[in-house]
């Protein structure tokens, strides 16, 4: 009974549908971008911490449930136009994969790094979401577009953050996903690959809806050069960390 309760609690933090709705509702209502970033970083860590307290091996149905959640949210991601919601859905899809990764024995030495590999780019996206909202009133695709010409630095950072969050090589999420695939059963692998494909599709839709298009009418201030270098440094750190992590993963 106790184990079942634990699993349900973990299902909130390593989201399993419909428990995943709790995270998305909470995340959507957070007013401050920094707080959103912190939640994105901390939420799955809580789940992993509790999961380590579970002594019995995970039943197979949990893995099926987790992969179904991942694919469900990846599919729903396709139609999302609001960036905040997009980040929440992608986080839900990505974190549910942690069940499979941890169950398959991927990096038992550094379980929290697994979660951070997915979460850090999402947290950066949450900060960028705020930058866009401040400048354009809303971070919404196909509403104005043209970020690449209007605010090129912001657009550049956004592109890298989206690529990092959707498991593009050589960011950590790519290696984590690859390690998960290697340690999963064939049926689960097919679902994981489909999830990955849907992420790529959704990321292209997000970028095309925000970055592409003519210059937006009025003069809008770009992010500062210093801030863009800071973001670049973070991406570089992510790449180095990703490549380093694989030593223990693969």
């Amino acid at each position: 009974m106790m184990e079942a309760v634990k699993l349900i609690i973990i299902g909130i933090f390593l989201p399993l549908f419909p428990l995943s709705i709790i995270f998305n509702v909470v995340f959507e209502r957070l007013p401050y971008p920094a707080l959103r970033g912190v939640v994105l970083l901390a939420w799955p860590l809580v789940g992993i911490y509790i999961l380590h307290g579970v002594e019995e091996p995970l039943p197979d149905w949990v893995i099926i449930w987790a992969v179904s959640t991942a694919i469900l949210y990846a599919f729903r991601l396709l139609a999302v136009r609001q960036m905040g919601l997009w980040i929440g859905f992608l986080a839900t899809s990505a974190w549910s994969l942690l069940w499979i990764a941890l169950n398959g024995g991927v990096s038992n030495d550094f379980p929290y790094l697994l979660a951070l590999g997915f979460s850090i780019p999402l947290a950066l996206l949450a900060l960028l979401d705020r930058h866009i909202e401040l400048r354009f009133g809303a971070a919404y695709t196909d509403l104005y577009g043209g970020l690449a010409l209007t605010t090129p630095r912001l657009a550049g950072v956004l592109v890298f953050a989206v690529l990092a969050a959707t498991a593009t090589p050589v960011f950590p999420a790519f290696f984590l996903l690859l390690a998960t695939i290697v340690n999963a059963s064939p049926g689960v692998v097919v679902c994981l690959l489909l999830t990955w494909l849907l992420w790529a599709w959704a990321s292209a839709r997000l970028l095309q809806g925000l970055v592409v298009g003519p210059i937006v009418g009025e003069k809008i201030q770009d992010i500062g050069a210093g801030l863009s270098w800071l973001y670049a440094g973070m991406f570089l750190l992510l790449v180095v960390a990703g490549i380093y992590l694989t030593g223990g993963l693969l």
Partner: protein, 559 residues
Amino acid sequence: MNQLVLWLPAISLVSALLTHLLGGLLGRGVVKISVSGGVLTVALAAYLVGLSLMGEDAHLHLLGSSWGGLLFDPLSVLMALVIASISLIVRIYSVRYMAEEAGYSRFFMLLDLMTAALLVMVAAGDLITLLISWYLVGVLLYFLLGHDMRSHSAYRYGFWTLITYRLGDLPLVLAAMLLFHTYGSWSLPVLFERISQNPNAVTYLDLPVTEVTGALVALAAFARSAQFLLHTWLPYTMEGPTPVSALMHAGIVNAGGFLINRFAPVYIYSGDVLHWIFIVGLVTAVIGSVLMLSQNDVKKSLGYSTMGQMGFMIMECGVGAFSLAIFHLIAHGLFKGTLFLSAGSIIGEARQDDGVPKDDLYTFIVERQSPSYKQPWLIMAAITLIVPVFVLLISHLAVAPDLFQKQGAIILLFFGWVTGAQLLFSTYHMSAQNPWRLVGLIVVSFIIVVVGYTLISHAFDQYLYPNPEFASQLYAAAGINHLSFDVLITITTFIIVTGWIRVYYTQRHLGHHDKSISNVWLNFYALISREFYINDLYTGLSRNVLAASSRLNVLLRWG
């Protein structure tokens, strides 16, 4: 010295970094860095090819403990030289062509990154490095095709490319996973060694690993090389800058042929997979050529021409002629790159002169030239059918006396004969003051092409697959039983000859239309002009997926 292979992608990476960092300082002059990097890469690749030709052994250079290695072997250095050369030409062309475009230095940075990714791809010594570079090529191409950030249509078509490439990445990931699980290594040389020791290993559901892996790798190659049903992205990516089209058609699209060659040791044991590869290549070659002929836009026509050529390249792999596919992709890359880079000039010239041939009556009355003379069709038909066979047989027997023991070689000779006959057949329609001179010139050209092709492809075979036993095993794996082979060749010959007779009959009876047959042709033309409705099907499918996603979100209240 062969560890210099590690510097091949490194030069382009450094060049990309410097182009980005110094873009603001040097302005448009920053492209000199990119071009200089390109020259250095070509020189290094040429040196490595030289080393390889002098007999330097293949070697894997590892940067990490289990992955991150680059291979020095004939295939990797030859492909590296091709990529570096085409990339340099494209960069030099772009210096002036892109001068008026926004994001000038970004374009060159992306070109450098693309070159680095391609060089890593062809030299990858393990599955993870191969997967990373394979994936990155798709992502970088997406941004290169969408270089004009204002153009929604460029990105829309760029997205088609991206999603097809991503679809093609998935089977490669699956193949990598299966190989790693079965043979316990990421390293390609180690894997190939273990496969040769234990080719009959089975995987999930008792499926043979080599067959499943061969099929998955072929699927990845099909997506990258625009094989039928995965081809729609290729002719529609003309919204991107012309240099990108040239790079794509001359280099990137050839990756399928390279990938199948890289996994050649797997295909020796892959059962019927090579037959399926042949069929897919054949269908793509035929459909690509048909669609090419029906286009009225020069760049789209070139796009479908590439599709047809890629079909032919994959077909060559399907008959076991792996090294020929590499020669084909290099030759195709060079001539298609030239065509794309000169497409703008041709369009400019067409605006001055439409190039439509003058009417016979006009030339006779106004220009006072005597009417052209045509030879009797029987003589022409005899020349058409006999000359190509003669030329092909003599040239191939000179380099490979055991020619008729290889089905793949016979199939390729057969296609050579059809192509040669078609070439001569077309001269019958040409009007010339001196038709024998015209025929003579075409026959001489044909001989030069065939002899050149035969000698070079033989040299490629010696260079890429120096072990004759290995090359024979590839041909043997592609073979089918003799009766089926003879029946197939007979049926194909019958279809082609019937087609020629039909064309001749149509030409002789111009103006006498059978209405029912005309309607059939009209419907067929409508089908071709809509490109077999495949684009419409995919567009409808993706709209339905997006609508379903939207409905699901509404149902679940976006939570």
